[in-house]
Amino acid sequence: MSRTGASLSEDRRPEGESGDEPATDLAFDEADRRLLNDFQRDFPLVPRPYAEIGREIGVGEQSVLGRFSRLKGLRALSRIGAIVAPQRTGWSTLAAMAVPFPRLQAVADLVSSNDAVNHNYEREHRFNLWFVVTGPDQAAVQQTLAEIETETGLTVLDLPLLESYRLDLGFPLQWT
């Protein structure tokens, strides 16, 4: 897949860096809030979806397009997209590592730089680095985990989904 380094580095901005202050609720008017909250599921599958959304919330198509662009610029909106059921079009796993703290940033950077990794978080636990690896099949994902083990000299826990009771369906946003 073709991707630019620029978009990857944007994805990798860690929390807490200066300039990464979350957008505040104050930046969102009622139309913005409805755009973020009301279309997490059942996005219109019609030739002009933004016009249909505009009719629902009482603004024009161009306003909807401009607002979504702005919300993306504010990093409140990740994207309008599809959440694919795990292991239906490929393979994914949740992986965890217990990284000695002095090495954590370097190991996290190495893991994040792997294109097969999407989420990568530090968590409060002896297993302190948690990331999701995806690939076209299970063998490809396990190859990625093996590469990370080789590159770091650390063991990776491979915790693939066995059964899903609830997959990300979005949830009602509460505005303070």
Partner: protein
């Protein structure tokens, strides 16, 4: 059910998100060599078949003020996991709930949930509520709050791409 090559290419082309243009499905269709109505029809069928679990706005919770998120894990007898998982899944603040394998001796936990909240105290209160509601009081459990977020983006499955879907077509 196997997902067709065309559908995998369509999902791959959507990984960066739907374009902000008046007719975004027509733009996708042009990149994939399909018709606009074919793209719309394929997406409808992928949703109906459960391959796509939701199609829509994907927000960044941290940026919307949900500063705390915790992965809550339980060590439960295997045969009780499905019923407990289904109970937890009914709670509105549980966004993900999965059974995963134990990895003894390092990792004894086999049920995983994700909870987002405005702050740590809010998430802790939700974890206690979930524990009560699912009858899990006293069960071995850990709460893994997130600290730094090193990377967050949508999954990329490496779907085979049609020749036309190269860097040159980005922004078309």
């Amino acid at each position: 059910m196997d997902v067709s090559l065309e559908d995998r290419q369509l999902l791959g082309a959507l990984e960066d998100g739907l374009a902000f243009e008046a007719r975004p499905y027509a733009g996708l269709a042009a990149r994939l060599g399909l018709s606009e109505m074919d793209v719309i029809g394929r997406l409808k069928r992928l949703i109906a078949d459960g391959v796509v679990r939701r199609f829509g706005v994907i927000v960044r919770h941290h940026e919307l003020g949900y500063r705390a998120n915790a992965m809550v894990v339980w060590d439960l007898p295997e045969d009780s996991v499905p019923a407990v998982g289904r109970t937890l899944a009914t709670l509105p603040y549980i966004t993900l709930c999965y059974r995963r394998p134990r990895r003894p001796p390092d990792w004894p936990y086999n049920l995983f949930c994700m909870i987002h909240g405005r702050d740590r105290a809010a998430v802790e209160a939700l974890v206690e509520d979930a524990t009560r509601q699912a009858g899990l009081t006293g069960r071995p459990r850990e709460i893994l709050f997130s600290k730094r977020r090193f990377k967050q983006r949508g999954a990329r499955y490496g779907a085979p791409q049609p020749a036309s879907l190269g860097p040159a077509s980005v922004g078309s």
